[in-house]
Symmetry: C2
Subunit: 333 residues, 2 copies
């Protein structure tokens, strides 16, 4: 099959870039040093490639992701790096499931849901989930008293991922990880989990890195100076072209918009063109070279995670040849 | 069923607000004066309510929407108000399908796909699709020569929908519609289609208005001073609470984020609270009143259309009672 046979908009994954990204990361963080985050691609087919590249465990952001990974036979060691108040669907799985807790309520939910293993989620500076380091040990004691196994700690320095200055990113990562290690001294366990694509090479304090975006990449992470290649694009068809008129420059419109592109990091990029704006199903842009109606273009999303979650499937391509089609089967909640 | 039984995040539709919005719009634009746009809700169950409120025809933005409406028995008069280069799926439907054309290529695609009726899409000022008014008649002639029935014109003044100054919105709408009527004089046909929720009461020149957002509404349209009620919210669970510490104010985190909220119009609103930021699966906010882990909140999206498209279903509620659950069955392409 060729890309011309695809209905647009269509998510494309460059096979060679993906394989290079997976191989490069596995060389840097082999085996359990990386716990790939599936939220960035939501595809068990892609996760299977990461497992084949030596990583036995995975990070998930939703219960649906954990369920899907277990159903796909990838349940050797699944971490739900997020707090939940109803863990019954997790407890029912035939898989090794560890869930993050940061409060007595989320601890109680793990117990009530039949989950047996937890990590204590520690706030390392990002104002989101996570308990204060000083009281992490007390929560771990309480979890053990309730019969849970506490495997260690996790803490995500998410606010540092996109910092332009790499030296500053490294310095602040060390500060954040000092908080996590202080909590770990009180909590115990084998695992210190944290980090992401933006700090995978800087965060030498954790026992495992939770990177996800590295596999597919986006323009925001590319701008952050990471060595991974842009593997993800959205194929779109030019459906309308307006010639220049008077002082108004010409523009083209492609059939990809707000329902096919995560917009929280801003507009997507069309290489060689100037993007004007997105509508629900349209992208208006000034092309760098003349386009005609019916031409196909590749649009680079600004943020990979929410973009992928809008699509039912991704097509693995080499040039214009479609090698495989993978279901984005971990969507929803 | 009660909302407490729902897995979060969950899309909620306030039954009374929805019914009031549909009734108020049907009173203002009865029967074929409104051609409701399904892109704003992507649900055939909701469209059936609009059909029951006297509107026989519908506007769609994608081929999938047209297919889904036809399959649901709502195919009496479906307009795909968008250009397509492959119309074969449209031509195969057992429904009345009219498609927009604005170029020889999209005209040829309609013929090749077996679609028999078209509207000429006219650029009225928004830099997106649409042919220049001066040459719309020539395209119509060419369409008729190719055997197509030209039902009239359409033109969308989308750039005016959110203008704060209503008088200015009205004045510019008149300018845009003068262009559309000039094109219509050359094109012929019974239909002059245009408008949206933001101009439904101002655009007195079209024969039918393509409004969609009025049914569910969002915070952006509410800010534009429209009389419709906010019917849509996203139910979320508070999964983490951090108390104030030193100079840092306290915050709460709910389980709704970038994968459950259209972000192109900015952050969502939590009534009485201050929203800080969204992550993939989290909303960090400073609550207006103390919250505890496990509390449920209702989050108001900034943009209804892309928000709905992220969810598999919407729950119709009255207070905390779940009356019905509708599939968002028109997603994808």
């Amino acid at each position: 099959m060729n890309t011309t046979d695809l209905t647009t908009p269509a998510l494309l994954v460059d096979a060679d870039a993906l394989e290079a990204n997976i191989a490069d990361m596995a060389a840097a963080l082999p085996g359990p040093r990386l716990r790939p985050h599936v939220k960035a691609h939501k595809s068990t087919a892609l996760a299977a490639r990461q497992a084949a590249a030596s990583h036995p465990g995975f990070t998930c952001a939703t219960i649906r992701e954990v369920e899907g990974m277990a159903a796909a036979g990838l349940g050797e060691d699944l971490l739900l790096a997020n707090e939940v108040l109803d863990a019954r669907r997790l407890g029912a799985l035939d898989a090794r499931v560890t869930v993050a807790i940061d409060s007595p309520q989320t601890l109680a939910a793990a117990v009530a849901g039949g989950v047996r293993e937890v990590l204590v989620d520690v706030n390392v500076g990002l104002p989101r989930c996570g308990i204060a380091p000083s009281v992490a040990g007390a929560l771990a004691d309480r979890a053990r008293a309730a019969g849970l196994t506490v495997r260690g700690v996790m803490g995500y320095e998410g606010h540092l991922m996109m910092l332009d200055d790499v030296a500053e990113r490294a310095r602040l990562t060390e500060e954040c990880m000092a908080r996590l290690l202080a909590a770990h001294a009180d909590v115990g366990g084998d695992i210190v989990s944290g980090g992401g694509t933006g700090t995978y090479a800087l965060n030498t304090w954790v026992t495992e890195v939770q990177a996800g975006s590295y596999a597919l990449m986006d323009t925001a992470y590319t701008a952050a100076g990471l060595p991974f290649r842009q593997a993800l694009s959205v194929l779109a068809t030019v459906v309308s072209v307006t010639a220049p008129s008077g002082e108004m420059p010409g523009w083209a419109v492609a059939d990809v918009g707000l329902k096919a592109l995560g917009m929280d990091h801003g507009n997507p990029t069309v290489p060689g063109a100037q993007v004007w704006f997105c509508s629900d199903e349209h992208l208006t842009f000034a092309p760098g070279e003349p386009l005609v109606v019916g031409d196909r273009i590749r649009v680079l999303p600004a943020h990979v995670d929410p973009t992928v979650a809008m699509h039912e499937r991704m097509h693995v391509v080499r040039g214009e040849h479609v090698l495989d089609t993978w279901s984005v089967d971990l969507r929803g909640w």
